[in-house]
């Protein structure tokens, strides 16, 4: 079975600071990492490969320094990675992903995360499915892959919908679908020999344009008092309640 995982490099928003003068978020120097849920997607790909055999290709559209982070996914168990250095909106990202996938040719399952932690759209998976003209199963919290079909349960909050699909298919997975493995030292060392290809839009024959332009980012800061009582003595609990009364939020 040929499995493709789309993985994004994201900035770690929990480390983000807001510039007090410009009120803009400071993006420069922020650490980047693999989008959390994309590791669930890789884990699910490994499970499918363990059952049916085949190979796993990870594709990322992003900064050219993504190599290091792609190695993490190779160490987990992906067979090869493709890096497409580019920057752009969802049209650019999905056109490049689609072009790379078409170049790969044969594929059965494309796995994405339910959403990226920085942009949180959940757009790439279903958009790519539309572009490729294949079915989609989004927000899958379980996935069963059989020889000729894929069955996923979609978690919609108020109901769970079980979908059965032919292949090829795009599946977006939730955080709950599995627990991503931590690669062993042996796997980390072994992954050094796995290929990371670099493809460009030009070499793929596409030069997509951004259809949505980001004009500006406004920082949203949160001010809190940060008064912390170091233990749960009766006195501290009294003080806490007195403070809440003073704030006028209880009673």
């Amino acid at each position: 079975m040929k499995i493709i995982v789309c993985a994004k490099q994201v900035v770690d928003a929990s480390e983000m600071k807001i510039d007090p003068n410009t009120k803009k978020p400071i993006l420069a120097g922020l650490e980047r990492k693999v989008n959390d849920i994309d590791k669930n997607a890789v884990e699910e790909a490994i499970k499918i490969k363990e059952k049916h055999g085949g190979s796993i290709t990870v594709i990322t559209v992003g900064e050219s320094d993504a190599r290091e982070r792609l190695k993490e996914l190779l160490a987990m168990g992906a067979d090869e990675a493709i890096l497409i250095p580019a920057d752009g909106d969802y049209n650019v990202i999905t056109e490049l992903l689609a072009a790379a996938i078409k170049k790969i040719g044969e594929y059965d399952i494309i796995l994405c995360g339910e959403a990226s932690t920085d942009m949180f759209s959940g757009q790439v998976g279903p958009r790519l499915a539309g572009l490729l003209g294949i079915p989609q199963i989004t927000y899958a919290h379980t996935l069963t892959v059989e020889k000729d079909k894929v069955i996923g349960e979609r978690n919609l909050g108020d109901k769970s919908v079980t979908i059965e699909s032919t292949m090829p298919v795009v599946v977006t997975v939730t955080k709950e679908i599995n627990e991503p493995r931590l690669p062993s030292l042996m796997q980390i060392l072994g992954s050094a020999n796995k290929p990371i290809h670099e493809w460009s839009g030009e070499s793929l024959g596409v030069t997509p344009k951004s259809m949505v332009e980001t004009i500006s980012l406004e920082g949203v800061s949160m001010k809190r008092k940060n008064i912390v009582f170091e233990d749960a003595s009766d006195e501290n609990i009294e003080k806490l309640v007195d403070n809440l009364l003073k704030e006028g939020v209880v009673g």
């Binding site: 978020p25 958009r127 539309g130 989004t138 009582f229």
Partner: protein, 317 residues
């Protein structure tokens, strides 16, 4: 033309208010689409602001993004639609995204504001787990935007409004996926988004039964509303998903938010950053949640909660 669609009736009414505003400014008609619905719904959509309702009679039953996107694509092309508003449910988001892939056009998910400038569509949306708001503009047509529920009130219902109802049948390419089962999930029908006081539970709780400690505190505070982090609802299923707060859950703004046994990961904070006063109870002095709290107690929740409930009862009577 401006088009609105949601598979949820009440969300469609909300979208019609924004759609009306955009359509009037653009000097265009406002179309609502009903897929597999009835005429009564079409009449309601007119009463809430639509100029025209397209009722699709094609043989599709339950929601399937592949088929619904195919239908909307045909409506968009036939009616020269330039602006599309879709309700941001999980189904709505996958529908809008798929449609944008088919039409190769721009799409913005979860806009908290949509407006026009020089006839161009602009939106604002929350990014980086609530750390920033992005202002974005469309360079392509049609512009597809999804809008979260309850962000906009519907216009007052006006049964005297006039509009056209058109029944349509399109050829729909059948999807090669099928729905094999739908299971209703249990819900408690709580509305955390409207709650004044929320006691929110995280993985610091060891058993489902222990959540009653939080309930007792909520009751003493006369708040009664229990919230939770994602793992409590999604992994452990100790509470139904209507309690779930955060980036992928509900966004809340109570005057008092008490986070109990919650570590304070940014994806949780994203759902409660607009709270008035935040109190954190956590046994780890280095827990991130203290950075997002006004008041904190470092301690074991099994010791703190009963004591706190007792003192609150004493002081509030």
């Amino acid at each position: 033309m401006v088009l609105v669609y949601s598979e949820k009736e009440n969300i469609a009414y909300e979208l019609l208010n924004k759609g009306r505003e955009l359509a009037d400014k653009l000097g265009r008609k406002l179309i609502a689409v009903v897929i597999g619905g009835d005429k009564d719904l079409a009449k309601n959509l007119i009463a809430y602001g639509a100029d025209e309702v397209v009722v699709i009679k094609s043989p599709v039953s339950s929601f399937k993004a592949e088929e619904y996107a195919d239908i909307l694509k045909q409506v968009v092309e036939e009616k020269s639609v330039e602006t599309i508003l879709i309700g941001s449910t999980k189904n709505g988001k996958e529908l809008a995204s798929r449609l944008s892939g088919i039409l190769k056009t721009g799409c913005i998910i979860d806009a908290v504001d949509v407006y026009l400038e020089d006839n161009k569509v602009y939106t604002k949306r929350v990014v980086y787990s609530g750390n920033a708001v992005a202002l974005q503009g469309f360079n392509s047509k049609p512009a597809i935007v999804t809008i979260p529920p309850r962000l906009i009130d519907p216009l007052p219902r006006d049964d005297k409004r006039k509009g056209e109802i058109e029944e349509k049948e399109y050829k729909v390419k059948p999807s090669s996926s099928s729905i094999v089962k739908i299971t209703e999930m249990q819900t408690d029908s709580v509305n955390v988004e409207e709650a004044d006081i929320i006691v929110s539970c995280g993985r610091g709780f060891k058993n489902k039964e222990d959540l009653k400690l939080a309930e007792e505190l909520a009751e003493a505070l006369k708040g009664k509303t229990i919230g939770c982090s994602r793992p409590i609802a999604a992994d452990l299923k100790w509470l139904s998903e209507d309690h779930w707060i955060g980036l992928s859950g509900h966004k809340v703004k109570p005057k008092l938010y008490i986070a109990v046994g919650i570590s304070g990961q940014i994806q949780h904070i994203a759902g409660m950053r607009d709270s008035g006063i935040v109190v954190a109870i956590n046994k780890d002095p280095d827990a991130l949640i203290f950075k997002s709290a006004d008041y904190g107690i470092v301690g074991d929740l099994y010791e703190v909660l009963p004591k706190l409930t007792e003192v609150i009862k004493e002081k509030l009577g």
